[in-house]
């Protein structure tokens, strides 16, 4: 099946700092989503972005489908941004949403 690799696995940020999370995938995709799992375990949908660029407040994401990677940008980080960020993809011909292992982000005040 499709492989999803996320980097860095762990990240500690000072409040106010910017960061970039990366997701590499091994095959062409027709679905790519970024999720934030908060400390209570809730998976929150951030972006549906199989290609292109989107922005939502302090967060933005870019997927370059031809080069098989996606980036999630967090600007002016806040303590509430702490948690695990997951990238998940579905490839053509395989109907399962495959998750990476996540990026554990801790934002300290």
């Amino acid at each position: 099946g499709i492989q999803v690799e996320q980097s860095p696995p762990d990240l500690i940020l000072q409040e106010g700092a910017n960061s970039t999370l990366r997701c590499n995938f091994s095959d062409s995709v027709n679905n790519l989503q970024w999720f934030h799992q908060n400390p209570w375990g809730q998976l929150i949908n951030l972006f549906y972005i199989p290609s292109g660029t989107k922005q939502n407040g302090r967060l933005s994401a870019t997927t370059v489908a031809t080069e098989r990677y996606s980036l999630l940008y967090i600007s002016s980080s806040q303590t509430t941004d702490s948690g695990v960020y997951f990238c998940a993809v579905t490839s053509y011909g395989n109907n399962r949403l495959a998750f990476g292992k996540g990026n554990q982000v801790v934002v300290i005040p």
């Binding site: 679905n31 809730q42 998976l43 997951f86 109907n95 399962r96 998750f99």
Partner: protein, 114 residues
């Protein structure tokens, strides 16, 4: 609009006991998914329903796990009997259409088997 609803949020049982989890998807969503999430890992699909039909259950351990979505709306996932290794978070998700659509997740049920 209400999100995906799951109950219970937490469950502690002794090994060999049965347990059931319930999920109500977002209204109008035809596709429903059950995922298993172990500590430090991403969710893994157990079963996917299109309306009332289970279209992908190849990852469901059928010797002890079962699921149903009788009227194509809410769904129940059951484990009987539970084993120590079943301790995990069980997540339900739904989407309007198939896998290429955005999936929305419920809060999950954290199961502890003693």
């Amino acid at each position: 609009e209400a999100g995906v609803v799951q109950s219970p949020r937490y469950k502690i049982i002794e090994k060999k006991q049965p347990v059931a989890f319930w999920c109500n998807p977002i209204s109008g969503h035809n596709t429903l998914y059950w995922y298993l999430q172990n500590l430090g890992q991403g969710p893994e699909l157990l079963i996917r329903y299109e309306n009332e039909e289970a279209v992908d259950d190849s990852q469901l351990p059928k010797d002890r796990f079962s699921a149903e979505r009788l009227k194509g709306v809410d769904s129940t996932l059951k484990i009987q009997p539970a084993e120590l290794g079943d301790s995990a978070v069980y997540l339900c998700a739904s989407s309007l259409g198939g896998n290429a659509d955005t999936q929305y997740f419920g809060p999950g049920t954290r199961l502890t088997v003693l």
